[in-house]
């Protein structure tokens, strides 16, 4: 060892020893770590059975939870795969139970809410003040547990049983055995992975529930429709029985006592009945129904009122229709209407009136019979139809009195005089019709009037026979009045004779005057012939003609017209 080494030893000796001690501790730790895998299981087992078990569990809780959390975050699929066989059936079973109960409750609520029976229950709850749920429960508890068997799961033998007292005896052992066999058969046939079991069956009004337990099953034969609460209570009872069976040091008597208590049918029914969840009474269905009923009633009343108004109007119009007697309105087959009544043949037709009253069902139909009306308007129409009066005759009817006024021909007048009293509805005839003039009468009257007028139309003469020129105008007037005299005479059926009469004043000699009279008459005849008067009709009055001896004393001439009957 040289000096340098010696110096290094002196300076670093302490550090070298510390380094050697550390290396030794490291070797010891490595050797302990090397055997840890073999020692750890043994150590853990020792802790589990020792007094430090609880302390160890508390100490491991936090790191195990953290490790599990890290494992879930880092190896999610691995954890899921590992838990899948457990989680799947557990979730399915929980969800299935919850859904089964929910569906049963919903079904029951729906069935009871939207039926007449449900509405009746709501009315009963409203009247009595009892919650609707209790009323429903009271009525829906129309179920009865007929039999309850506690069956040993392995052998199918009956461990305990309870039956409703009024039911006939049955071979419970055989039934329980057969039920167990069928349940096994169903489970082996259709159950998946051996985990699914027969839980219920329904035959008619009977329901069978088979509630499975690890050691024993509960078979419940129910008549009616039980609620989900009963199922829950049965499960609780089966769990109590299993708790008694599994209890440390349980005796047969204890288990039998627990079974008898659990299978007490009266207590079971009471518990299930009171365990139904109380639901708040919902009034909207009832209010909805009442609103619908009120609306329907109001609509019906409005429609009925509108219909009655229409019928009244129809009745009023028909009642005011002359010649129609309304005997009835048949509206039993609304909106079709049939009008029954009596109708006079002379009444105005009803169709326009009915067409105006048509509605959704069409115009009212007519079912009428004929009759004779004494109504004045109808009697007037009847009289007009039967008498057919000319326009110059006016007919009136008032109080059964037929009045006839005006002018009519004698033929019609004769007929009317015979027929009028025989018209139905006429009790008296007041005839004030003047007979109408014939053309012959008119023509005769005109000729007679002309014969009176002609002597007044005179011509004034000066001395001599020639007329004064200014006086010749009367000749034109005479000729005009005598125009067509032959035709008028023919119509009148008479013979006409015109005589031209000449006159003179008092002065002069008789012979001279006679000549003047004849000359003046002849002058007038000639003047008229010149103006178209037929010569055969006119002659000059002779001085000896007895009809003209008393002639006026004046210097004139005039025409005298004589009428005589035709031969």
């Amino acid at each position: 060892m040289n000096d340098l080494d010696r110096l290094r030893q002196i300076l670093l000796e302490e550090d070298r020893r510390a380094l050697a001690a550390a290396a030794q501790r490291l070797d010891v730790a490595e050797s302990r770590q090397h055997g840890l895998a073999e020692r750890l299981p043994q150590a853990l087992e020792a802790v589990q059975s020792g007094a430090q078990r609880e302390r160890f569990a508390r100490a491991m809780a936090a790191p195990v939870a953290s490790a599990l959390g890290n494992a879930v975050r880092g190896n999610r699929h691995l954890i899921i795969d590992a838990l899948f066989p457990i989680i799947g059936p557990t979730i399915r079973k929980a969800v299935g139970e919850a859904m089964r109960g929910l569906v049963a409750d919903i079904n029951q609520a729906l069935e009871s809410s939207f039926t007449l029976r449900g509405l009746a229950w709501r009315v009963e709850a409203w009247r009595s003040g009892v919650p609707y749920a209790e009323v429903v429960l009271k009525h829906t508890l129309a179920w009865q547990v007929d039999h309850l068997f506690l069956i040993e799961r392995a052998s199918g033998l009956v461990l305990h049983r309870a039956s409703a007292p009024e039911l006939p005896a049955l071979d419970a052992d055989a039934i329980a055995g057969m039920l167990t066999a069928i349940a096994d058969f169903v489970s082996d046939s259709v159950g998946r992975d051996g985990g699914d079991t027969l839980e219920s069956a329904r035959v008619g009004e009977h329901v069978l529930w088979l509630i499975q337990g690890p050691r024993a099953n509960l078979a419940c034969f129910i008549r009616g429709v039980p609620g989900s609460a009963l199922y829950a209570r049965l499960q609780e009872r089966l769990e109590r029985i299993h708790a008694a069976i599994d209890a440390d040091g349980a005796s047969g008597e204890l288990v039998a006592s627990a079974s008898a208590e659990a299978l007490d049918l009266a207590a079971l029914t009471r518990d299930a009945a009171t365990a139904e969840p109380r639901r708040r009474t919902a009034w909207w269905p009832l209010l909805l129904v009442i609103l619908a009923a009120v609306t329907a009633l109001a609509w019906h009343l409005l429609r009925d009122r509108s219909w009655e108004t229409r019928m009244d109007a129809l009745r009023t119009h028909l009642g005011a229709h002359p010649g129609f007697v309304l005997t009835g309105l048949d509206d039993t087959r609304r909106p079709a209407v049939v009008v029954h009544g009596l109708l006079d043949p002379d009444a105005a037709p009803l169709e326009p009136l009915l067409a105006a009253m048509r509605a959704a069902g069409g115009a009212p139909q007519l079912a009428v019979q004929g009759y004779l009306s004494a109504d004045d308007a109808i009697v007037l129409r009847r009289a007009r139809r039967l008498l057919a009066p000319p326009d110059s005759v006016r007919l009136t009817v008032s109080g059964g009195v037929l009045g006839l006024e005006g002018v009519a021909g004698s033929d019609w007048l004769d007929t009317a005089r015979l027929r009028a009293p025989m018209i139905a509805g006429v009790r008296e005839v007041r005839l004030e019709v003047a007979p109408a003039a014939t053309p012959a009468d008119v023509a005769r009257a005109e000729l007679e009037q002309l014969s009176r007028q002609l002597p007044e139309i005179k011509g004034v003469f000066e001395r001599g026979v020639a007329a004064v020129p200014a006086s010749e105008a009367f000749v034109d007037d005479l000729a005009e009045r005598l125009r067509g005299i032959e035709q008028r005479a023919a119509v009148a059926g008479v013979e006409v004779t015109l005589v031209a009469v000449g006159c003179n004043d008092a002065t002069g000699a008789d012979r001279t005057n006679a000549g003047l009279r004849e000359g003046r008459g002849a002058w007038l005849r000639s003047a008229l012939i010149e103006r178209g008067v037929p010569a055969a009709l006119i002659r000059v009055a002779g001085d000896t003609d007895p009809d003209f001896q008393d002639r006026p004393l004046e210097r004139s001439a005039y025409i005298h017209m004589a009428l005589s009957s035709r031969p």
């Binding site: 052998s155 199918g156 071979d171 055995g177 057969m178 066999a181 058969f185 069976i245 349980a250 079974s259």
Partner: protein
């Protein structure tokens, strides 16, 4: 654990050995035989007197004829206290089937008592099973020659099985 007062008995044997006829003669029938062809078993009950004078109720599971104990039959066997093995004396093969079924059933219910019924005693002249074989069988388990037709031996077989049921 509360115990049932009745005891479960399973009747096993090959097809056509007369199990159902034996049951029909002896037990109180509740269910139709159609269950044998549908579910594979028919359960009936009967009361049998014990040697001590008390009555014991037997719940007899008449299982449809089969050659082996399958899964379903195993589930039917669970909880059985006694086994009624049935063979047809006129068919020696049915005895082998009965003994084979007995061995398989023992695997499921090792504690169960068992008796062997050699049926169709009324056709004894046609039996294929030798008397020597029967004598050897008696060394292993109770053997009864029975006739479902006449009822011979049936009651004794049930009584013996009842007496040997485990407590």
């Amino acid at each position: 654990m509360i115990r049932a007062t009745a005891r479960k008995i399973c009747m096993l044997g090959d097809f056509g050995v007369g199990k159902t006829s034996l049951v029909a003669r002896y037990v109180h029938g509740t269910f139709s035989e159609k269950y044998l062809t549908t579910v594979g078993v028919k359960v009936d009950t009967c009361e049998v007197a014990r040697p001590d004078g008390t009555d014991c109720k037997l719940v007899v599971w008449d299982m449809a004829g089969r050659n082996g104990v399958d899964t379903l039959a195993a589930s039917y066997l669970r909880g059985a206290s006694g086994l009624l093995m049935v063979a047809d004396g006129t068919r020696a093969a049915t005895l082998r089937t009965a003994l084979d079924l007995l061995m398989q059933a023992r695997a499921v219910v090792p504690e169960a008592a068992a008796v062997l019924m050699l049926n169709k005693l009324d056709l004894i002249e046609h039996w294929e099973i030798e008397p020597l074989t029967v004598a050897e069988l008696r060394n292993s388990l109770p053997v009864f020659e029975t006739s479902a037709l006449s009822g011979d031996g049936v009651a004794r077989a049930f009584a013996t099985l009842t007496a040997e049921l485990p407590a």
